[in-house]
């Protein structure tokens, strides 16, 4: 599955400054693995030592927060848009 991943500013050092990159994978875990292949070091910023999504990282597959879906096992259909966003604490 080919997807597009939006990269937050603080991770763009790994993507040569690019705000959007292409990646492959049928699940979010596979997409992150593929990102790591092409942008070494990026996975360790998004995942913790246990390989789980870091607490302050929000990831959306299209419009869905993966924490309300299957987390890293959330399916990433062909053409999906994935956004990695630092969690912002409230303030409404």
């Amino acid at each position: 599955m080919s997807v597009t991943v939006r990269i937050p500013t603080i991770l763009r050092t790994y993507t040569g400054g690019r705000a959007e990159v292409a990646a492959e994978g049928a699940t979010l875990a596979e997409v992150i693995e593929d990102l790591e292949k092409h942008h070494t070091g990026i996975a360790a910023r998004v995942l913790d030592d246990q390989g789980k999504l870091r607490r302050f990282v929000n990831v959306y597959v299209d419009d869905d927060d993966v924490r309300f879906e299957q987390g890293l096992q959330t399916a990433t259909p062909d053409g999906a848009g994935i956004s990695i966003i630092p969690a912002v604490a409230g303030g409404q």
């Binding site: 870091r54 302050f56 419009d63 969690a87 912002v88």
Partner: protein, 428 residues
């Protein structure tokens, strides 16, 4: 340590008073002061590290006491330049600490022991003015000319007002289906108000993406890229409560929880006052209050967890409806460390508590105030809050903002304009 002395890593062109650097709350990674909010190492929240080394306690106390009747009396403890009071800002704070003896009687608290910190007295009628005033100063320091935020109401009004006073452009993003009253309260200040087709989480996500895009360059989002500065505004609630109690820590304090930021910053403020010698170091307990329809932190506290499982909010307390509160784990730490608790109340209990506070103390609270008063009542009933100790309950906004919550409240009687009719209705 909240008041630790740190070596400055500040960009020398940025004057934000005692603010020395930004430090990651999770991993301690430090970066110079700037419009950033997430740690480049671990995505953790960045917060201000201060250099308070220059302060003599008694001089500082005198300086504060002779300062303006707003949050800038605490300028030496905030990320703002020393001359902040001379700059155009909304100058919030120094709101009333009401000794609530009538409410105390109803709740079985000893007279003289219960206080309501009534932040509805701020310029746009909620505590948000405190945090926005801080963010405005940061925006000025970083050369931004547009002030922005994602909002469901209170924040939009505070940003609009602050931008108007300071001569900034404001462009605020809200869910497109927000209640008309809130839209008016935000739009009246003349800034741009943009409805986003989606809920608050969608608006927040959009703003986070806008920051990373050239279209958002030069924009200060008070609750996103200016968040470390913005959040510090909540410390002033702690400072004011202690000063208004005669430079004394309260024994117990009940704080509403949305993201949890306010509660964590109140704790930070209390600890700073202790470390600076402005109050005596004695134990205090912090209690968190949520609505049952959005109670992820309360649920985690009761279950003994140290992580917070997100919820989809469904409550009338919309200003607290954050289902995935980023500071939730910190709230759990603080409640447990201080011997406090986190509790929640139903929407019906929120409404009852709004009415209770109004009829006993003449304070009309927004739903968040109903949550804190309701939780206070519940915790006293459960023997968790000690009614013999000095307790401060926060009301963070004006009831006029959430009229729908008490819409069923109305006329006692309708009569003809005659004395007979008055008597017949049993009103004499």
């Amino acid at each position: 340590m909240a008041a630790q002395t740190v070596e400055s890593t500040t960009d020398s062109t940025v004057d934000l008073g005692p603010a020395a650097a930004l430090s990651c709350r999770e991993c301690g990674h430090r970066v110079p002061l700037g419009p950033v909010f997430a740690c480049e190492e671990c995505f953790g929240p960045l917060e201000i590290a201060y250099d308070f080394s220059a302060h003599d306690t008694e001089e500082l106390r005198k300086r504060i006491e002779s300062g303006p009747a707003n949050i800038w009396r605490y300028a030496p403890l905030l990320p703002v330049p020393a001359d902040v009071a001379d700059k155009p800002n909304i100058n919030p704070g120094w709101t009333k600490l009401v000794q609530a003896d009538n409410l105390a009687r109803e709740l079985g608290v000893e007279p003289g022991r219960l206080f309501v910190k009534d932040d509805s007295g701020n310029p746009t009628h909620s505590f948000k003015d405190r945090v926005v005033a801080q963010a405005l100063e940061a925006a000025r320091a970083f050369g931004f000319t547009t002030l922005s935020c994602s909002s469901t109401g209170n924040l939009a009004g505070a940003v609009g007002a602050a931008a108007a006073r300071a001569g900034f452009r404001s462009c605020v993003f809200i869910p497109h289906d927000l209640e008309q009253g809130k839209v008016v309260m935000a739009a009246v200040y003349g800034g741009e108000l943009v409805g986003i087709e989606g809920n608050y989480d969608d608006v927040n996500r959009f703003c986070s993406e806008l920051i990373g895009d050239p279209a958002g360059e030069g924009w200060g989002f008070v609750n996103v890229n200016l968040r470390p500065y913005y959040a510090e505004g909540s410390k002033t609630l702690a400072y004011e409560i202690c000063e208004q109690l005669g430079w004394r820590l309260p024994d117990q304090i009940v704080v509403p929880i949305a993201s949890g930021s306010q509660l964590t910053k109140i704790d930070k403020g209390l600890r700073e006052l202790v470390e600076l010698g402005l109050v005596e170091d004695r134990p205090y307990k912090i209690f968190g209050a949520q609505a049952e329809g959005c109670s992820p932190v309360s649920a985690a506290f009761k279950a003994g967890h140290d992580v917070v499982r997100p919820q989809k909010p469904n409550t009338i307390a919309k200003s607290l409806a954050i289902g995935n509160p980023a500071d939730g784990p910190y709230v759990l730490d603080i409640a447990r460390r201080t011997g406090g608790a986190v509790e929640d109340v139903t929407d019906e209990e929120v409404v009852d508590a709004i009415k209770l506070l109004a009829r006993t103390e003449g304070i009309f609270a927004e739903t968040a105030g109903g949550v804190t008063v309701g939780v206070t009542r519940k915790l006293i009933g459960a023997g968790v809050l000690d009614p013999s100790l000095t307790t401060v309950v926060l009301n963070t906004g004006d009831g006029l903002k959430t009229l729908d919550a008490v819409a069923g409240t109305g006329l006692t009687a309708t009569i003809r304009p005659t004395l007979d009719s008055f008597r017949e209705a049993g009103l004499a």
